[in-house]
């Protein structure tokens, strides 16, 4: 069973267009968030303002990136209302 079973399932099912579309959108949003963080750390409202991605979607994507070790959380801002986040240095 080495490395080829994906071909078996490809013959049985097709990837729905909606799914491909969602995946592309996710990647696009993630890219915008990465770009917003390129200059250094930022809070979620700052990322949302910079990237134009709605804040709730920033929370979801950013937290997923944190889960998969792409992003790390830093300190709280001065008002103690938001945390700063930054990209993890690529190894």
């Amino acid at each position: 069973m080495s490395g080829k079973t994906i071909d078996i399932i490809k013959q049985k099912i097709k990837v729905p267009d909606a799914l491909r579309q969602r995946h592309k959108e996710y990647l696009a949003l993630r890219k915008r968030i990465r770009e917003a963080l390129a200059d250094g750390e930022a809070t979620i409202p700052e990322i949302a303002a910079k990237s134009g991605v709605p804040a709730d979607q920033v929370v979801f994507i950013l937290m997923t990136m944190r889960k998969y070790n792409e992003v790390v959380a830093g300190e709280m801002n001065d008002d103690r209302e938001y945390y700063y986040y930054k990209l993890k240095a690529d190894e």
Binding site: G3, I9, K12, V15, F60, M63, T64, M76, Y83
Partner: protein, 450 residues
Amino acid sequence: MEDILQDSSVKVADSLVVGGGIAGLEAALNLANTGQQVVVVEKDLSVGGRMIHLSKVFPTLDCSACITTPKVSEAARHPHINIITNCELKQISSDENSYWHVRLQINPRYVNESLCTGCQDCEEACPVVVRDEYQYNLVGRKAAFIPFSIASPRVAAIDIDNCILCGACEKACGPGAIDFSQEPVQTEWVVKSIIIATGFKLFDSDKIIRYGSGKFKNVLTAMQMERQLVPTRPFNTVLRPGDGKIPEKIAYVLCTGSRDESVGNPICSQICCMYSIKQAQLLLGALPMVDVTVYYLHIRAFGKGFDEFYQQAKMMDVNFIKGKVGRIRELENGDLVVRYEDIASGQVMEATYDLVVLSVGILPNMDVEKIAGLETLELDPFKFLNQRHEMTNPFKTNLPGIFMAGTASGPMDIPDSILSAGAVSALVNKYNKQLLETTVNSLEITSWND
């Protein structure tokens, strides 16, 4: 879409447990420890039920995972217990000797369980992100994923409905465990008795439109808050999902979907008061600046140590307001205005919060009704399994050899679920023993109060 493979060999066990939550596992362990052969079927990818996902549990505030995982691993390696996950019940029927025949379908996880080492290389390789149901949608997960860190079995699965068939996982997997050629497999078991431990469903708070659940980003369900309080939490701290703000004012709305004829659930869910009080206490520990207000009708703190726990929350300055919440509205900055009838003053009042938590109630798991071929299984007026002999034999169903454990029979907290599982194993032990010794007709006479 797929072929279904038939496993023609019929397997035999003493008892079959439907549902691998805490009640099902406890019952299975009790039976297995007295030499009974037990098969546990679980529809999810992991056993552990709801309890494995909770933070600390009331009223002792012990860590839920610390209680669940040792039981899970004990069951998983028990020589008399066979756990089948990702598995659905297709049909149940009885034969002339009163044995039950159960047809199961094991759905493919597209990962060979015995080869997977749980290393998560596939998860890292997978490019697809979808909402993580085990984090109650607060964060994402991959389409190739380990359900959660303390899952049992701790092996990966492919979420085929969200898979883009890129094959990256298969390439990344060292031991060659990914297997897209898997098909559903149907198999038949013959057992003496069945324990239904299918648990409960959470009330869908989106149905109460005036609370804005599902629409306002900072209105959470209590399970979402529960996940925010566990060590494996989605945000690694408590934040509001709308904009990542650290909440300072949090409101709880009790009886969301319970004691409410207008949503078709007239009964009390029995656990929401206590879990809300617990969450309030944990929030005060996690966020030292936070204010927590609980809107309630009656506080049902009835169990051992519960009222003391409620009093403790009051001492910690959790604010309890007796009042009915009428409506929640969202401000532009994401804050929420709670409009409520304040019983103490008799007036309608409003208060603003960063975050509102809906203490959703529990409903019968309708999958029970759908168990194939069991139309004669009695339900009570609330669609839980009917406790025909509630007073003296509370966990017998109307069908001989079919029993219930945990919240399949109605709302229950964890200690009571565990007790019910203990109780049912005593009844099942006796039933299995007598089924061997006698015919079913005489069994019905000797088994009391039928």
